[in-house]
């Protein structure tokens, strides 16, 4: 996509003659390939994209996915597709670089093997790391990306609203996770965007818990952290519920996390240092009886992946920028007892922010 190629070149500190983005074998794919080439389906293992300063994009693909590539390129006159046997890719890259002296690479998503192949194929080239400019271009979203993020968030939000109706005494964490993922797919997701977290009772005190065969019992609180992938873009949403007779402490914890999240939302607008968003949430928690129980940064950017290259915690002075899509996810974790986290996805707008996720954030108690 011409505008995205140009955006990356605009973010460079020093000019380069071209940028090469190279996929290895799954899972070692560079999502920047899909940022530059908006092909909706396909793995594109071994494929390479070469971006030029004039906005043109050469895409080298194996015969296996050439048809899919040509279909996508029909919508984008700045893309040229080259169908290349895998073992001849390096030679084609050399020809298409046409004597470029300085070439940018995404060191953070390129395998070291690929680097050595390129170094050998095009000797004398000055290879420059452009992973920071690529990340900075990707971190603010264009209108089409926001549309896809909204599509993913709507799927996640639907499932968020449906979770209370799924809960039954005796169901396992794994069963609830399976049901949530099924619903996301039925609502149009191509899959989950990360391994679903379902944590019943005391398990909720571990922020990154993996679901087990532990059964739900009356009196359990729970943390459900999940996300859908929709046309390669993701959402990331967390809701915490209570099952059965009220637990006054967990209700008070939930109220506090809600207030912390609201305080974080209130700070969000372009130009605000990211750490101020974190600090606003942390202040609410640290002034409550759960001081120190927020054990992680309050959010991260999302896009083609769930951790899209930018996180914000207590020490991140970089300012929020219009078009950033980020999570806002304070939590309180009480070892031996449980946890509450509330996570929403928002986009930073000119004057503030807009929600991507829409499921209710208020405390929900489900009858056992």
């Amino acid at each position: 996509m011409k505008a995205r190629v140009e955006k990356i070149f605009q973010h460079l500190e020093k000019p380069v003659d071209a940028i090469v983005v190279a996929n290895s074998v799954d899972p070692h794919l560079d999502q920047s390939f899909f940022y530059l080439f908006g092909v909706p389906a396909g793995l594109f293992e071994g494929a390479v994209a070469i971006a030029h300063p004039d906005g043109k994009l050469d895409v080298l693909t194996s015969p296996l996915e050439a048809e899919t590539a040509h279909q996508a390129a029909k919508l984008d006159p700045h893309v040229a597709i080259h169908t290349v046997p895998r073992e001849e890719t390096d030679g084609f890259v050399k020809d298409l670089l046409g004597g470029a002296k300085t070439v940018g690479l995404n060191f953070r998503e390129l395998t070291h093997s690929w680097y050595l192949i390129l170094e050998k194929a095009v000797p004398g080239t000055d290879w420059v790391d452009v992973s920071v400019p690529i990340r900075n271009a990707r971190v603010t979203k264009d209108a089409h990306e926001i549309e896809l993020l909204r599509g993913a968030a709507e799927i996640g939000s639907k499932v968020g609203r449906e979770i209370p109706g799924m809960l039954k005494t005796g169901m396992t964490e794994l069963e609830l996770a399976a049901e949530m993922e099924y619903r996301m797919n039925r609502h149009g997701a191509s899959g989950r965007s990360f391994a679903t977290i379902v944590a019943f009772g005391a398990h909720g005190a571990e922020p990154h818990f993996s679901p087990t065969s532990t059964k739900l019992k009356p009196g359990d609180s729970m943390v459900c952290d999940f996300g859908a992938t929709y046309q390669r873009y993701v959402c990331d949403i967390t809701r915490s519920f209570h099952f059965g007779p009220r637990d006054e402490e967990m209700k008070a914890v939930h109220d506090t996390v809600e207030k912390a999240q609201a305080a974080a939302f209130a700070t969000i607008r372009p130009g605000v240092p990211a750490k101020e968003v974190h600090a606003a949430a942390a202040k609410v928690i640290d002034e409550s009886k759960w001081k120190g129980r927020l054990t992680h940064g309050v959010g991260h950017s999302i896009g083609l992946v769930v951790h899209d290259g930018w996180g914000y915690g207590p020490n991140v002075a970089d300012p929020l920028v219009e078009g950033m899509a980020i999570t806002v996810e304070p939590g309180i974790y009480i070892p031996g007892k449980g946890g509450v986290r509330i996570e929403d996805d928002i986009v930073v707008t000119k004057n503030g922010y807009e929600f991507l996720t829409t499921a209710p954030r208020a405390y929900i108690e489900v009858a056992a």
Copy 2:
């Protein structure tokens, strides 16, 4: 795991003093980390494993997953866990290498960024690519790995047996894929091992088709290619069905693919050049009226990932080895009409092979 560390060192062509395996951010994780350190859950972003010739393994993990790491290490006295803040990992690697002069790295799964961090952190080291020895160690499975592959294959096989009961006129490819993935998770999978392929009618002619909202109609054949992940190990299974009134051509195609697969199975034992397995299947297809319609290699190894580092096609002379877990998946693809592929997972044994997947391979026609 001591035996796996030693196995990799035994596969080296030239000795090294240590081997470093380093994870970046998801999805840029080196599955060799999980081969060496049998931790059942967790992402371990940014984590590093250092393997020593005596079988010892140092694991550097962030505080986020330290508890999970310690639990796993309790079962393995050769593993030492070091909880390290992410930004200090490079310094710890230097200390734990303790003056090693020659250090092996998995160039194929290491990001170039990580390579540069290591090069800077431990200057004067001779960094050697050990990705081929690592692949060769991983490609033959130990008893515990075969147990986990069998667990994954049993889940996939159950769903393979259930697909006929799921088919209904008007359901979409995406709905069937969602149902299949849900069933895998309900049967104990932690997720799918790759994006499920469901291809109705003419879509079946494209081997790597992504499911769409196309609806099932009487008279459609279909290709369903899917896999479960179970305790990090995968299966990969394909079944082809026919829905509604018999299509004599598709039945004959299925019969031919069954024969091709049986011919391939009959060749499998240690020492046989891989290309002979492919050739046996290709011969059956090329002697039928669908000559030339097998458009891909007949299999690949499976393990911690679906394409586990080794594929076999018409030109692969390397011999099969006892303990290899591979797919056998001939297919016939007829543009405009449809396709049939039958794929099973097997382990090469001392005298032949054993099936991992157990769903019936015979032609199944489902009433519309």
